[in-house]
Structures are given as structure tokens and as C-alpha cells.
């Protein structure tokens, strides 16, 4: 048992290292071979493009480590954006709207958490349901219209960079939250509880962890961050729309799995996930700069996703035989 366990652990550690290495290689190759990939302006664009995926991937990692999933994140983002537009149109101050949207995100997450932990329903089905529900409500709130003209102070901050440096302001948000989630997952009792629940709920319960409570708060966190992503999305494009971020959930799940998190729960690490997000984002950016079509991008994403799980499995199998 301990032998296989350590094999599994090392397999994941290997994958974590591998995905980081692959990401670094891709970045170097892209900078060397693609014109203007390495420019500071492009760096800013790249960060802005992967901002929503990076943010939502953080709580998603923890949710998937517990063996659950949250497919409603993009719809939460959309509803947060729609409500932001609605309230802005209702002449509310942006300083109140933003916290309200974050609160709304947390509430939407709590609804997911309630269905999954209190009623004990499968999270896949619950969040497919809320995926449709939240997106539908976003359309009910804002219809098909778009709300623009958000204050330039805020929109400029989101698209701008720190002082004279090429470092985008939003990178601060990503880094701070990544550190927060990284520390929680890898260096606190909460993180240990998350892994324990994912490995075996029963065992975790015997060890004094309350799986329901852990999961519930993770869903709240997932909703909260998705709400934040909705606010930032709206400010970045200075356009609140009900369809903002549609389909993003697939990209987020793809990035998390690419980062070496097991869909069955119990295994995964945040540095790998960050690498997964960067890998997806920079590949997309570099290919687009080389005039490779979006279509090819889709194929690359899909293949990478399958390969990220298939690869380690096959290697393992070959090693055994």
C-alpha cells in the first residue's frame, strides 16, 4: 500500500514538475520564435486574457481536490456582471456595487454548497443545473442589452499597469490570491482537511474533519472569486453583458486538470495549476500571433487536456510491465 502510495505521489510530483517545465519551455520557444511575443505590451495583454481563468482556477483546484466539481463558475461570473450593469444603470455608486457583486457570488456559491453538502446531491448534476440557472437569471436581469460607460478610473486601473513598469495592475490580484490559496491548500490544517476529504471522505470523518463543512465553504469561495472575476471582466471590457464569460468553465477545468489535479480528488498542487493556466494562455497567445486559427487552438486544448491525464497513466503502465 505504501509502495503504491509513494508511486502515486511521485507520479503526481513528476507531473507537477513536468507541467512547469513544459510551460517554461513553451514560453522560451514562443519568445524566441514568435515576433513580439516577448514585448512588455504583449505581456500585459496575456495577463489580462488569462485573468479570469487564473482567478477561477484557484478555488476550482480546491473543489476538485475534494472530489467535487463546480461547473457553474462562468455563469456566476455572468450573473455578477449582469447585476453590476443593472445596478450601475440604476445609478448606484460603483463603490457599493462591487462589494454587492462579490457578496452575490458568495451567495450563489453557497447555494451550490447547500445542494451538494446538505442535500447530498452529486455536484456534477447540481452545478450543471446552476450553470443553466445562473446564466438564465443573468439574461433575466439584463436581457440582451449591454451596459457600458463604467467610470474610467476603474476601467483604466484594470487595463493599466503599475507606475511606469510593464506589470499589469491585475497581476497583483492574481499573485495575492494565488499565494493565499496556495498557503491554504499546502500549509494549513484546512488544506490538509481538503486533501483528506478528497482521498477518503470516511477516513477524513474519522480523523475529525467535517467533509460537508469543508466543501460548503469551498463552494462559497468558488462563488466569491467567480463574482470577483465577473466584476473585473466587466471593467476590463467596460461592458456588462449577460453572456460574459460563457463557456469559460470548460477552459478552467481544462487548466486545472492540465495542472495535474486528479478529477477523482485527493491529489493536486497549486503551482502545477498556475503553470497549466499560463501554458494554455501563452500557447493561445503565441499561436494567435503566428496567425494560427482559433480552430487549431481548440484541438490543442483538447489534446493537451486528454494527454495530461493519459500521459502519466500510460507511463505508469509501461513502467509496471
Amino acid at each position: 500500500m505504501s509502495a503504491t502510495e509513494s508511486a502515486v505521489v511521485s507520479r503526481f510530483a513528476n507531473w507537477n514538475a513536468a507541467i512547469i517545465a513544459i510551460t517554461v519551455i513553451v514560453l522560451i520557444v514562443a519568445a524566441a520564435s514568435v515576433d513580439s511575443f516577448g514585448t512588455s505590451q504583449n505581456f500585459g495583454f496575456l495577463v489580462l486574457d488569462l485573468l479570469p481563468i487564473a482567478l477561477v482556477a484557484l478555488p476550482m483546484t480546491l473543489v476538485i481536490v475534494t472530489g467535487e466539481i463546480d461547473l457553474s463558475v462562468a455563469s456566476t461570473l455572468g450573473l455578477s456582471s449582469a447585476v453590476m450593469g443593472y445596478l450601475w444603470n440604476a445609478n448606484q455608486p460603483i463603490e457599493t456595487i462591487i462589494p454587492l457583486c462579490l457578496l452575490l457570488g458568495a451567495v450563489l456559491g453557497a447555494v451550490n454548497g447547500f445542494f451538494v453538502t446538505v442535500l447530498g446531491l452529486p455536484s456534477l448534476a447540481v452545478t450543471i443545473g446552476t450553470l443553466a440557472l445562473y446564466r438564465g437569471l443573468a439574461f433575466v436581469v439584463l436581457g440582451d442589452s449591454a451596459v457600458a460607460d463604467f467610470p474610467t478610473v476603474y476601467t483604466d486601473w484594470v487595463t493599466g499597469s503599475i507606475g511606469g513598469t510593464p506589470i499589469p495592475n491585475v497581476l497583483i490580484i492574481i499573485v495575492v490570491l494565488a499565494i493565499v490559496f496556495g498557503v491554504i491548500l499546502h500549509a494549513t490544517p484546512i488544506g490538509r482537511a481538503v486533501f483528506a476529504v478528497g482521498a477518503s471522505e470516511q477516513a477524513a470523518r474519522f480523523a475529525g474533519v467535517r467533509p460537508g463543512r469543508v466543501k460548503f465553504w469551498l463552494y462559497v469561495a468558488s462563488g466569491l472569486i467567480s463574482g470577483l472575476a465577473g466584476v473585473l471582466w466587466t471593467l476590463r471590457y467596460s461592458s456588462a453583458r449577460a453572456d460574459n464569460g460563457a463557456g469559460l468553465e470548460l477552459a478552467v477545468v481544462a487548466a486545472v486538470l492540465l495542472g495535474g489535479v486528479s478529477i477523482f480528488g485527493g491529489k493536486g498542487a497549486l503551482p502545477g495549476v498556475i503553470a497549466g493556466v499560463v501554458l494554455l494562455g501563452s500557447l493561445q497567445n503565441a499561436l494567435r500571433l503566428s496567425d494560427v486559427s482559433n480552430e487549431a487552438l481548440n484541438v490543442v486544448t483538447g489534446v493537451l487536456l486528454i494527454a495530461s491525464v493519459l500521459g502519466p497513466n500510460l507511463v505508469n503502465r509501461l513502467r509496471r510491465t
Binding site: 514585448t39 474610467t152 494567435r288
Partner: protein
């Protein structure tokens, strides 16, 4: 309903929280609208047209036959002026993916970006960033906000299109009865401005017997438009005419009606592509519809972009430039360049057109 009440509660809560006020829509309105369009330099009408200009087309989305015809015209024009033609675009008509493409085009140091905006505001910051980098922006098909482009190629005047749509509808309805509109997305800039003109036209006494019962939105999605047409006919049994000011909508509505029991009872008209509509004109589902030549839009855009980039024009009202086979154009108010009047297609003339 409850959603609305909840929002009201939220709104009240927000109001309470913001007793001291903050940044609200009305407090920022004055600053935001004041964003200036900085067009540096002066026009030199005699400047030679530069060669080797990199002109990139960014339509609303790639999978649209109408768009293909438009950018096809652009490709021809770019060839004539010995420039470098490029076509990029998203597969879905979303504003956010257009922004990524604009950013890419800035990196690739294009000279001109010809763009049809999916959201007039969402693309603005990026377009202005491009202009700061010296890229000239020409919009076509669907305009971006005036503050972030140099010129807009208008396929026809908004007024002209709206009037001709109402005229065709009135003729087909025999002067009275219920009509409905099947539009693209509810925030499509051009469709909405035409619909607004149509509504003013319909309010006039001579059209008082025409009743606009519903505006449906097919989102320029074939299947959605198809089901929306279906819904219209179910909800309004006395419907006489469906007016669809979008090529996707008119084709889908015609296809539905031609194969249903409504054929012959309901007339379809609007803006359509002759190649897509030929079948329905021939089988009698559609009597007449209108459109400009989309290839000319892309063509004109290339020349306008080149003239901007060469310094012949700056986008100010009254400036003139030559657009190859189309002849001379004058820039109107707000940088608008009007292509010309639309053509009406009927069974008699449709075979003369191939686009």
C-alpha cells in the same frame, strides 16, 4: 418577478450603504462622454496612396457568408493598392474575443484595422490603444463608438434602409395588417437604428393600418432565427409580413415558411443575400427583399483605410478621397462614409446578381 423584487431589495441596501454617495452613472456621465477623438495632423488630399500597407479585416465572426462577401471585396481592393491583406476573427460573435484579436493586430503592427464591432464599447479601449500606436481604424457593418475609430463605412443611410424596409412591408401587406420584425441580437447597433427608423415611419398616418406586433431576436444564429420565426407565426395567427433586417434571419424565416403550411399566407422581406434567397424567391415564398452589394463595403473600407494611413484624409467632415472603381466619396458628419442606396431584388432581377 421575485428576481426583480430581490434586486429592489439589493438596490435599497446599496442605497443605504452609500449614504455619502460615490461614483455613480450620472456623476461620471459628463467625464466619459467627453473623451476626445484625437485626430492628429492635417489632411493632404494630394498625398500619394502608400504601397505595402498592412490592412487587416476583423469581422464580427468568421462563419458568416455575408461577411465572406464583404471581406472578399476588401481583398480585391487591398490587391489593387498593393497592400498586404489579412483576415482574422472569432468563431463566435463575442466582443471579448474580438478584443484579443485587436491586441494581436497591434502587436503585428498593422497599418489599418477594418473592424465590425460586436459591442460598440467593449472594443473601444483596445481600438484606442491601436490608434495610439498609429493604426488607423475603419469600422464597417456595425459601428464602434465614435470616439474610438477614424471612419465608419455605412452601407446606406440608416434613414434610407428603415424607410425602404417599411415600404416593402407595406406593399407586401397590402397597406394594412400585422407585421413582425425578426432581428439579429438585441444590441446589434445597425439593426437597432433601422428598427428605430421603422418605428417612426410606422407611426406616420399613411402607415397607420400597419401594426408592428413584435420584435423577435434570432441572434444571427440560423437555428435560433428558425425557431423564432416559428414562434412568431404561432403567436400571431394574423401575421402578414415578417421583416428581417439581417441576412441570417431572413434566410431562416424563409426556409421555415417555405416548408410549412404558412407558405403563401405570410410574406417575408428584409435584407438578404441573393444567393441565399434565390431558392425562396423562385418558389414564391419571398416576393422582394433588398440589400447593398456587401463586397463594395469591404472594398470601400480598404480605400478609406489606405487614404487615412497615407494622410489623404483624417476622417473630418467634407474631406474627399477616391475609391477605385467606386469613384469619389465625401466624408459625412462623425466620420461616416455612405456607400449608396440599397438594391431591391425580385424574381425578375435576382439572377443578375451573384453574391
Amino acid at each position: 418577478m421575485t428576481q426583480r423584487r430581490n434586486l429592489a431589495v439589493l438596490a435599497v441596501l446599496a442605497l443605504a450603504l452609500s449614504a455619502c454617495g460615490g461614483t455613480t452613472k450620472s456623476s461620471t456621465e459628463s467625464q466619459n462622454t467627453a473623451a476626445p477623438a484625437t485626430t492628429a495632423g492635417k489632411a493632404d488630399p494630394n498625398a500619394p496612396l502608400k504601397e505595402g500597407l498592412k490592412i487587416a479585416y476583423l469581422p464580427k465572426q468568421l462563419n458568416n457568408p455575408y461577411t465572406d462577401v464583404e471581406v472578399g471585396g476588401g481583398k480585391v481592393a487591398v490587391g489593387e493598392i498593393k497592400g498586404e491583406y489579412k483576415l482574422v476573427g472569432p468563431n463566435d460573435a463575442s466582443a471579448s474575443s474580438q478584443v484579443s484579436y485587436i491586441n494581436t493586430l497591434i502587436q503585428q503592427q498593422q497599418n489599418v484595422i477594418v473592424v465590425a464591432a460586436n459591442d460598440p464599447n467593449a472594443v473601444c479601449p483596445s481600438l484606442n490603444q491601436a490608434r495610439k500606436a498609429g493604426v488607423k481604424i475603419v469600422t464597417f457593418d456595425s459601428d464602434a463608438s465614435k470616439t474610438c475609430r477614424d471612419a465608419f463605412i455605412n452601407q446606406a443611410t440608416t434613414q434610407g434602409i428603415g424607410e425602404s424596409l417599411v415600404k416593402m412591408a407595406s406593399e407586401l401587406a397590402g397597406g394594412s395588417g400585422e407585421i413582425a420584425i425578426l432581428s439579429a441580437t438585441p444590441n446589434a447597433t445597425n439593426q437597432n437604428s433601422w428598427i428605430k427608423v421603422m418605428q417612426t415611419e410606422l407611426a406616420k398616418p399613411e402607415n397607420s393600418k400597419l401594426k408592428l406586433v413584435k420584435i423577435a431576436y434570432g441572434n444571427d444564429d440560423d437555428q435560433k432565427s428558425f425557431t423564432e420565426a416559428q414562434g412568431l407565426l404561432q403567436s400571431y395567427p394574423n401575421l402578414k409580413v415578417i421583416v428581417s433586417p439581417t441576412t441570417v434571419g431572413i434566410a431562416a424565416a424563409s426556409r421555415y415558411v417555405s416548408a410549412s403550411s404558412y407558405k403563401g399566407k405570410v410574406a417575408i422581406t428584409g435584407l438578404g443575400l441573393p444567393n441565399q434567397m434565390r431558392q425562396y424567391v423562385k418558389d414564391g415564398t419571398v416576393k422582394k427583399f433588398a440589400l447593398w452589394n456587401p463586397a463594395d463595403i469591404g472594398y470601400l473600407a480598404a480605400y478609406a483605410g489606405a487614404a487615412l494611413s497615407s494622410g489623404q484624409i483624417t476622417g473630418a467632415q467634407g474631406e474627399k478621397f477616391k475609391a477605385g472603381k467606386l469613384g469619389e466619396y465625401t466624408i459625412g458628419a462623425d466620420g461616416e462614409i455612405v456607400l449608396g442606396p440599397p438594391t431591391e431584388f425580385t424574381a425578375a432581377n435576382i439572377d443578375q446578381f451573384n453574391f
